[in-house]
Amino acid sequence: MADTAVAHEGHTSSTGISNVKLGMWLFLGSECLLFGGLISTYMLYRGRVSNGPTPEQVYDIPFTSVSSFVLLMSSLTMVLAVSAAAKKDDRGTNLWLVVTALLGATFVGGQVYEFTAFYNEGLGFTTSLFGSSFYTLTGFHGVHVTVGIIMLMALVAINKRSRVPGSKAETVEMIGLYWHFVDIVWIIIFTLVYLIPV
């Protein structure tokens, strides 16, 4: 039983590459379809404001720019964590994972502040089609970032107990791939949603 479990950890596909990594890239490919649908819906409905504020009236570009910069920099700290894990530097790995989680939490905090400000300005989830599509798109992204933060902190906790199953470097790399994906989705959202006017 134990042998089987150990053997299972190291499974590679017939191509010689890791099943875990293959699965992660396939998952990220499918996530493109999810976010593509949400972004397209927003693009269709962003001008549909029967009542409530318009995008130009609520968006705070300087604030969102800072949030975007914070998330972008979290990709740098994540890649430094992956690099430290490849070098078997546990201390460096944990440090950069925690910094990445903190930057992610700052971004999510900014999003909560933004949603609260928008709501106070009269933009509820059902106020208009613009409001519904905006909150759905950015909310889904925020949930993805939150899941990423939970994974990062869980990895730090497991790593400190030296209980990471299989290859530690690969585990950090997989969570890194997810984190970078969340970042590239925001790169698109920031441009299409915030910077391009209706």
Binding site: A7, I17, G29, C32, E170, H180, F181
Partner: protein, 115 residues
């Protein structure tokens, strides 16, 4: 059965070790990652500047080009897709281009591009 499993495990560990070595070999230096981050930050600053400065007819194409450049820089260098096995690129780009194709067609049916 046990022998087979042990051999398989050893082979897998060998593959993994090879994978890790390959990763370390292909991974960029810390300086390289910081340079990429600085370029991304500079592009972001340029993007934000379009909100304050009038770029005229270049506004939309410039923003879209900068978005695409940032996207592929993160995917290629931070996600190591440029250095990794091509199968991963196929997996990801298949989903990405399928999504772009499907949703551009969907937006087209709603006359989005004629507005």
């Amino acid at each position: 059965m046990t022998t087979h499993t042990t051999e398989h495990t050893a082979a897998s560990h060998g593959d993994r070790a090879h994978g890790s070595a390959e990763h370390a070999e292909h991974g960029m230096s810390t300086r390289g990652y910081i340079n990429i981050a600085l370029i991304l930050a500079a592009i972001t600053a340029l993007e934000v500047s379009t909100y304050y400065v009038d770029f005229g007819p270049l506004f939309l194409p410039a923003l879209l080009i900068m978005m695409v450049v940032k996207f592929f820089m993160v995917v290629s260098y931070f996600m190591h897709l440029k250095f990794d096995n091509k199968i991963f690129s196929w997996m990801f780009y298949a989903g990405l281009f399928l999504a772009v194709g499907v949703y551009v067609a969907a937006l087209g049916t709603f006359h989005f591009f004629l507005r």
